[in-house]
C-alpha cells in the first residue's frame, strides 16, 4: 500500500529521539551525570513505544533506531561508538518486545530488555577494549576484595535496570495512548 505514514512517523520519531540524544544526551554525557544511559534509554523508549502504538507495523522501530543513529553520528558525541551501539540495540530490543508480545505487555517487555541490556553492553564493551586477561583480573579483584561475586552484582544491576525499563515501557504505553487520543485517529 502506498501509505507513507509508517515511514514518515519512523523518520520523525527517530528524529525526535536523535534530537534528544544530540542535546540532552550530550549535555548529560559532558556533565558526567550518573545513570545518563538509563535516562536517555527511557527517553528513547518513550519515542519508540509511542511510534509503535501509532504505527503498529513490524520494522518501524528499527527504522526509527537507524534514524537516531544517523543523527547521533553528526553530533558532538558521535565520536564515541558506545551510544551509537546502545541506540541500535535499544531499537532491536523494543522491536523484539513487540514481536513476541502485544500491547502493554510488549511495551513492558521491550523496555525491560532495552534497559536491562544496558549494563551488559557496558561490560561487553569493557571486555572488548580491555581484553580478556584484564577483564578477568578485574572480576577476580572485585570478587576477592569486595567479598561479592561480580556476576551477582552484574545480575543485580541488570535486574534493577530491567525493572526500571519495564515500568518505563508500561508508562510509555499509557502515554502513547494519550498521544493517540490527542491525534484523534479515525478508522
Amino acid at each position: 500500500m502506498k501509505d507513507l505514514r509508517p515511514w514518515t512517523h519512523a523518520a520523525l520519531y527517530g528524529a525526535l529521539w536523535g534530537a534528544l540524544e544530540a542535546t540532552a544526551g550530550t549535555a548529560l554525557h559532558l556533565g558526567r551525570v550518573p545513570f545518563r544511559g538509563e535516562i536517555m534509554g527511557l527517553m528513547g523508549l518513550v519515542c519508540l513505544v509511542c511510534l509503535r502504538r501509532i504505527q503498529p507495523r513490524v520494522g518501524v522501530v528499527l527504522i526509527a533506531g537507524l534514524t537516531a543513529v544517523f543523527l547521533k553520528i553528526f553530533t558532538l558525541g558521535g565520536v564515541f561508538p558506545g551510544p551509537l551501539i546502545a541506540i541500535a540495540l535499544q531499537a532491536v530490543a523494543v522491536e523484539f518486545g513487540f514481536l513476541v508480545a502485544r500491547g502493554r505487555l510488549a511495551a513492558g517487555l521491550g523496555g525491560a530488555v532495552a534497559l536491562g541490556t544496558n549494563p551488559l553492553q557496558r561490560v561487553i564493551m569493557a571486555w572488548v577494549v580491555a581484553g580478556p586477561e584484564a577483564a578477568t583480573a578485574v572480576i577476580r579483584a572485585v570478587g576477592e576484595l569486595g567479598g561479592v561475586d561480580p556476576r551477582l552484582v552484574l545480575a543485580g544491576f541488570v535486574a534493577v535496570a530491567a525493572c526500571i525499563g519495564a515500568m518505563g515501557g508500561l508508562w510509555a504505553w499509557r502515554l502513547a495512548g494519550r498521544v493517540v487520543r490527542r491525534l484523534g485517529d479515525r478508522p
Binding site: 505514514r5 525526535l16 518513550v46 527504522i63 581484553g131 478508522p187
Partner: protein, 378 residues
C-alpha cells in the same frame, strides 16, 4: 578519505585486538599516521585532555587489577596494551565520524537500493529545525500557562504528550506533502480496479465536514432526480465525545454501528476502534445497489481498504458496474495518491474542503458533471 587510508585504518583496528603489546603499538602508530594524513582535526580531537585522561584511567585500572593477580610487570604490559588499544579505537572513530557526511549516507542508501530508508533519513534531517521549534514552542506555552513557576517533574508527562503528539502531526503532514508530490518510492499499491465513471475524491483535515458534505450532495442529487447508492459513515457522538462510527445506506436510510472506540483495550488495524461485522454487511448491501445511471457514494476509504480489507471487496464489485453516473469517494489527504492509483480512473477530480472558497456542494456536483478543470488531479 581514499581507499588505501580506509584500508590502513581498518587494519589498525583489527591489529589493535592482538594480545602482543608490540602489535598494538604498531596499530596505534598506523592509526595516528592515517589520521595525520586524512584528517588532522580528528587526531586533535582524540588527543583532548578529557579523552586522554579517561583512557589513562581505564588503562591504570586494568593494569592495577592484572598487577594484583599476576605481578607488576604483567600489569604494566596489559595497561600499556589497553591504553594503545583505546587510542586506536578513538582515532578510528574520530576519523570515520568526521569523514561521514549526510549526503554520502543518503547516496549510499540509494546505491544499495534502499531509497525509502534514504528518504526517511533525509526527512529526519530536514525536520530537525521544525522539531526544535516545536519543543521551544511547547516549553514557552508551558511557562506562560504556569506563569513562569518552578518546573516540576510532575509536569513532564504532559509536556512529553504534547511534543509526541505534535511530532505525530508533523509526520502526518510530511506524509501528505510527500504523497501530494507524487512520491511513490515510500510505498506500494496493493489494490487496483479500473473505473470509467467520473470520480470526485473529497478530502480535507479531520472534522472539516466531509461526511455532512456528502450527505448534502446526496440530498441535492435526489432532489434533481439523480439516484445514488452507497454509504456514509457519520460519527457517533455521546456526551460531546466521538465514541464510534455508524454506517448508513444513502439509498434506504438503513444504518448500523460500524466501529466503537475502545477505551483502555486494544483497537484493531492500528486504530482505537473495534469493528462490527453488521456494519460491513450493511455497507456491502448498500454498495450492491450500484447500477447503471446511479452515483456511487463511498464515505470513506481508509488504509485498511487500500490494503484490500474492510469495505474493499464490496467497493471493487461496485466500481466494476458499467454505466455509473459518477463516483464520490471520501479519503484522508495522505491516501489521495494511493486511492487515485488504486482506482485507475480516467477522470478524477480532487476536492479539498480546506481552502475551498466556493460552495463545496456545488463544487462536487459540478465536478461530477465535468467540473472545474483547475481542480483536476491528473
Amino acid at each position: 578519505m581514499n581507499a588505501i587510508l580506509a584500508l590502513g585504518l581498518f587494519a589498525a583496528v583489527v591489529a589493535s585486538f592482538a594480545s602482543a603489546v608490540e602489535v598494538v603499538g604498531g596499530a596505534a602508530v598506523l592509526a595516528c599516521a592515517v589520521a595525520w594524513v586524512a584528517d588532522r582535526g580528528a587526531l586533535k580531537r582524540v588527543l583532548s585532555a578529557g579523552l586522554v585522561l579517561g583512557a589513562v584511567f581505564a588503562a591504570a585500572a586494568a593494569a592495577a587489577a592484572v598487577a594484583w593477580s599476576s605481578g607488576l610487570e604483567r600489569g604494566l604490559l596489559i595497561g600499556a596494551t589497553v591504553l594503545l588499544r583505546i587510542i586506536v579505537l578513538a582515532v578510528a572513530a574520530a576519523v570515520v565520524s568526521r569523514s561521514v557526511d549526510a549526503e554520502g549516507i543518503l547516496r549510499a542508501t540509494s546505491r544499495f537500493g534502499m531509497e525509502r530508508l534514504g528518504l526517511s533519513l533525509g526527512l529526519a534531517l530536514n525536520s530537525l529545525p521544525h522539531l526544535v521549534t516545536t519543543a521551544t514552542t511547547v516549553w514557552t506555552a508551558h511557562r506562560v500557562r504556569f506563569d513562569g513557576g518552578r518546573f516540576g517533574l510532575g509536569r513532564l508527562p504532559a509536556l512529553a504528550e504534547v511534543l509526541l503528539a505534535h511530532t505525530g502531526r508533523v509526520a502526518e503532514q510530511a506524509a501528505a506533502a510527500a504523497a501530494l508530490r507524487g512520491h511513490t518510492t515510500l510505498g506500494r499499491a496493493q489494490v487496483a480496479v479500473a473505473s470509467q465513471a467520473p470520480t470526485v475524491v473529497v478530502t480535507g483535515p479531520p472534522g472539516c465536514g466531509k461526511t455532512p458534505l456528502v450527505e448534502k450532495v446526496v440530498d441535492c442529487l435526489a432532489g434533481a432526480g439523480q439516484p445514488a447508492a452507497g454509504f456514509v459513515q457519520p460519527a457517533i457522538i455521546s456526551g460531546g465525545e466521538k465514541t464510534g462510527f455508524e454506517v448508513r445506506n444513502v439509498a434506504t436510510g438503513e444504518s448500523a454501528e460500524l466501529a466503537r472506540k475502545v477505551t483502555q483495550g486494544e483497537g484493531r488495524h492500528g486504530t482505537a476502534y473495534r469493528f462490527r461485522d453488521e456494519g460491513f454487511a450493511l455497507a456491502g448491501r448498500a454498495l450492491d445497489g450500484a447500477a447503471p445511471g446511479v452515483v456511487l457514494v463511498i464515505d470513506e476509504l481508509g488504509p485498511v481498504e487500500l490494503r484490500g480489507g474492510g469495505h474493499w471487496p464490496a467497493v471493487e464489485r461496485a466500481l466494476k458496474t458499467d454505466g455509473l453516473a459518477g463516483v464520490i469517494v471520501v479519503v484522508r489527504r495522505t491516501l489521495v495518491p494511493t486511492l487515485v492509483e488504486a482506482l485507475d480512473a480516467v477522470d478524477v477530480i480532487v476536492v479539498d474542503l480546506e481552502g475551498e472558497a466556493d460552495d463545496p456542494v456545488a463544487v462536487v456536483i459540478g465536478a461530477l458533471h465535468g467540473g472545474d478543470a483547475s481542480r483536476s488531479f491528473q
